[in-house]
């Protein structure tokens, strides 16, 4: 739970931008004034980070860290209370053969499944995250999005994963995106003053260019996002390393600019331990050690946990393991 920012986010944005009135023009000026991103150079850097070799103790530590950063996710039309209970149970006991296995950070579900997840997780520190705001398209009116959010909060969600209005962003209507985030953030605050942490999904696969990813990252942070998140998982490409690299640069630069830390969550498409470790290497070398904590970095994933546990078992037993040795409560229904 983050403490709600007492300052008015619009006033803060005005202050950061040095304008007297927050307009589209002011936002455009700021966002388009950010340094450009050269795609090829960015991809080369990402590839270079991918060649880092992690061995022995570091690898063990990295695997456990990665497990602890997972938002174990199911976001299907076919989700049932049974499946969600299974997923939540899995989060509690990721590997029955090894109780030392850490738990994921959260279970991520649709709003109507929050209560079910919460019930299964009980008093455990595992959080419940809910996607909201007409996920995944975000094509609904603001009141509907806010109702969606409040509903999840009321059901006990600790974290809200909202989507931005990509259409508005691509049309250059940054103010609409900004205002929606501000409004949803407000809706994340409960009556007792505690607030759910807000992850803002940019759906980078629809923003296409890395320049847009950088601008959207800053826009979300300006509007008060606690986390910036790549994707819904419904659009390909989802969480690529170059996109995440740009976001990590953004949160690093944001902290330099404002002193505040914002989290990063790549989601969708990260399936192997090797991938996950590459992301952690990027976190370490780009944003820095402070982000190597599930308070500030998450993986949105469903099958990644299985592979991490497979690797963990290999390191424990000294032999390669197999799928039959992984307890999977959420296999594909197809």
């Amino acid at each position: 739970m983050s403490t709600p920012d007492s300052a008015d986010p619009t006033a803060r944005a005005r202050d950061l931008l040095g304008v007297s009135r927050l307009t589209n023009r002011a936002l455009s000026g700021a966002l388009h004034g950010l340094h450009g991103v050269d795609q090829v150079g960015c991809e080369l850097r990402a590839a270079a980070l991918g060649t880092r070799s992690i061995k022995a103790d570091s690898k063990r530590w990295a695997i456990d860290l990665a497990i602890s950063m997972i938002d174990l996710t199911t976001l299907e039309g076919a989700d049932t209370p049974g499946k969600v209970r299974g997923l939540a149970t899995r989060a509690l006991v990721p590997d029955p053969s090894d109780p030392s296995t850490p738990s994921p950070a959260a279970v991520c579900v649709y709003g109507d499944m929050v209560a079910t997840a919460r019930e299964t997780l009980g008093d455990s520190p595992i959080r419940v995250a809910a996607v909201a705001t007409a996920f995944p398209s975000g094509r609904a009116s603001l009141p509907v999005k806010l109702a969606d959010t409040k509903d999840a909060i009321a059901a006990g969600a600790d974290e809200i994963d909202m989507v931005i209005d990509r259409g508005a962003f691509l049309a250059g209507d940054y103010l609409t995106v900004f205002r929606e985030i501000v409004a949803v953030k407000q809706a994340c605050t409960r009556a007792d003053g505690r607030a759910a942490r807000l992850k803002v999904i940019m759906e980078t696969g629809e923003l296409v260019t890395l320049d847009n990813v950088r601008r959207a990252s800053w826009l979300c942070m300006l509007a008060g996002a606690d986390f910036i998140k790549t994707s819904t998982g419904k659009i390909s490409p989802a969480a690529t390393l170059p996109v995440t690299l740009v976001m990590l640069e953004a949160v690093r630069d944001w902290r330099e600019h404002t002193g505040d830390m914002v989290g990063v969550k790549p989601a969708g498409g990260i399936r192997t331990s090797k991938d996950a470790i590459s992301f952690l290497v990027a976190v370490h070398e780009v944003a820095g050690e402070d982000w190597l904590d599930n308070q500030w970095f998450r993986f949105g994933a469903s099958s990644l946990l299985n592979d991490l546990i497979l690797q963990r078992q290999r390191m424990t037993i000294g032999a390669y393991s197999g799928a039959d040795y992984i307890a999977d409560d959420a296999p594909s229904a197809y």
Partner: protein
């Protein structure tokens, strides 16, 4: 008795102007008799260029380089074609000069002048073809746009051939300047007058001052200073053949001090032979003074 003719003073051509040698020296130039055994006929007192004239010429050439090399290839082609037009209009003068300089029959002299003008036109046409023939896209293994194109190397010192006073002269100057280089030319010592007439053509066409500088005099005196000059980027040693007191080996050695591009004289071994200028030239006379520049840029969204 016919009228007393008005004779021309033959001077140097530096930076677009016609100065006398700063040394105030001159030397006598004689016509080669067309009949064996005849007495050489006095033609003129040509300016005898000194090392300081050479120095001034390099300064003029360096000054002219940025503008000339940055001109569009089309523009350079037009300007050089204009030179050929002016040469054609001075054909009679050239014929006389070449006949006197090389001892040719009038018909031979006419043919040489025609070849020289045609050679100039041939080179002029290369200005906007070189980049396409010599440059191009490099298909590198990666998301990069990568292109190579020729660029002029800079200031080129040229020892013009001693024997071929016009066709040879044109054949060594045009390939230097067509690509955007500027030239400091030491003319044939004994046959300098066609070069001075060429200078008058250059001065009255649209060639910017300093692009071509012509020094009449002795290569043995001037060439070592050009070969060792650090602000000269390349040197053509063609005219070392039959130039008294000139060792092309020594000039090349001096040129090594700033890694000048060197075009060696014709011939084999230590011997220097003046080439036959009637043949169609090879590209190598132009490529000798060209650098290849390669530019990379990523291709991304």
């Amino acid at each position: 008795m016919s009228r007393v003719d008005v004779r021309k003073t033959y001077k140097l051509y530096i930076g677009g102007a016609f100065p006398r040698s700063e040394s105030a020296r001159s030397y006598e130039v004689y016509a080669v008799p067309s009949r064996a055994g005849a007495r050489p006929r006095f033609l003129a007192n040509a300016s005898l260029a000194s090392r300081k004239d050479a120095r001034n010429a390099v300064v003029a050439a360096r000054k002219a380089f940025p503008g000339w090399s940055a001109a569009t290839a089309y523009n350079r082609g037009q300007v050089l074609y204009r030179v050929a037009e002016v040469m054609e209009s001075r054909r009679a003068q050239f014929v006389t000069d070449v006949r006197d300089a090389e001892g040719l029959t009038p018909a031979r002299a006419e043919a040489v002048v025609s070849a020289a003008i045609d050679r100039w036109v041939w080179y002029a046409g290369w200005s906007d073809k070189l980049a396409q023939v010599l440059g191009g896209l490099n298909p590198v293994a990666g998301p990069f746009f990568d292109i190579s194109a020729p660029e002029p190397t800079g200031v080129v010192a040229v020892l013009a051939p001693q024997a071929s006073s016009l066709l040879g002269l044109v054949s060594v100057i045009a390939p230097v300047v067509v690509s955007g280089n500027t030239a400091v030319v030491v003319t044939s010592a004994d046959r300098p007058l066609p070069a001075v007439t060429l200078a008058e053509c250059l001065a009255t066409s649209d060639v910017p001052g300093g692009v071509v500088n012509l020094l009449t005099g002795r290569a043995a005196e001037i060439a070592p200073w050009l070969a060792s000059h650090r602000d000269v980027n390349a040197i053509d040693l063609t005219g070392a053949a039959d130039a008294p007191g000139v060792s092309w080996a020594e000039l090349e050695a001096a040129a090594a001090d700033n890694l000048k591009r060197v075009l060696r004289p014709g011939g084999s071994g230590a011997e220097a032979v003046e080439p036959d200028f009637t043949a169609t030239p090879a590209l190598s006379r132009m490529t000798a003074y060209l650098e290849t520049k390669t530019v990379w840029h990523p291709k991304g969204r």
